[in-house]
Symmetry: C2
Subunit: 109 residues, 2 copies
DNA sequence: ATAATATTTCGACAAATATGGAAGTGTCAA
DNA sequence: TTGACACTTCCATATTTGTCGAAATATTAT
């Protein structure tokens, strides 16, 4: 089994949890500058130990990264890796959405 | 938490397993006519009870369906649902791939 | 130094997942 | 109606996940 497939599966598994998909959504909207962990916690209203656990999982598979600024940690999506993942679903798996639903250009760069 | 997000997470979780992502890949290539369970088994070389378990999970979340023809069961992807899932990742989460990697039209319809 | 803030790590436990042998079900062929 | 074929369901077990309180770590302010 190819490494690329293993990698894609690992990332999809992380997205495949309601809380983490919610985190993902927040991270996408936050763009490259990222969001503080505390902000995510407020938005989702879950204990910080639970949140931290999810964040570390997402980090581990390369979906996001953390950067410290003073005492707050900012989380930001690794857009390149997410793009690679999405491209895998399209290219490797040869899937096409009807052109109407395909965005003409990126909205998050 | 929205039902749409729950649904997407459930489907992504199923894709987030190497074996099942492999099954997905086979199903995509098979197109609408589908593939026999036995063919998938030969391709992946796993015990049929294990395979059956994965297939039933994928069916349960609406990624694929099974149709019997004689004594062989054919599995086929529910392309509409897969499209909806992919559209969720683009629309709801506002993600864009660089236009170069976005297919101009569907290759599986 | 001490305290407050922001977040992670530890530890423990319940629940879900993954795996595969063995037995069961449906279908066809002789 | 017996047997072969194509799968699924049942069962048991090992592993992974998800959850969260409590303790630990890092940073800044007083």
């Amino acid at each position: 089994m190819s490494l690329e497939l293993e990698q894609a599966a690992a990332q999809l598994a992380e997205l495949g949890h309601p809380t983490r998909l919610g985190i993902f959504r927040i991270l996408v909207r936050a763009g490259h500058q990222g969001v503080a962990v505390g902000e995510i916690q407020q938005a989702l209203d879950i204990p910080n130990s639970t949140l931290s656990h999810h964040l570390s999982r997402m980090t581990k598979v390369g979906l996001m990264a953390q950067r410290r600024d003073g005492r707050t940690l900012y989380c930001s999506l690794l857009f390149n890796n997410v793009e690679t993942l999405l491209a895998f679903l399209y290219d490797e798996c040869c899937l096409g959405l009807p052109s109407a639903t395909v965005p003409q250009s990126s909205c998050c760069d």
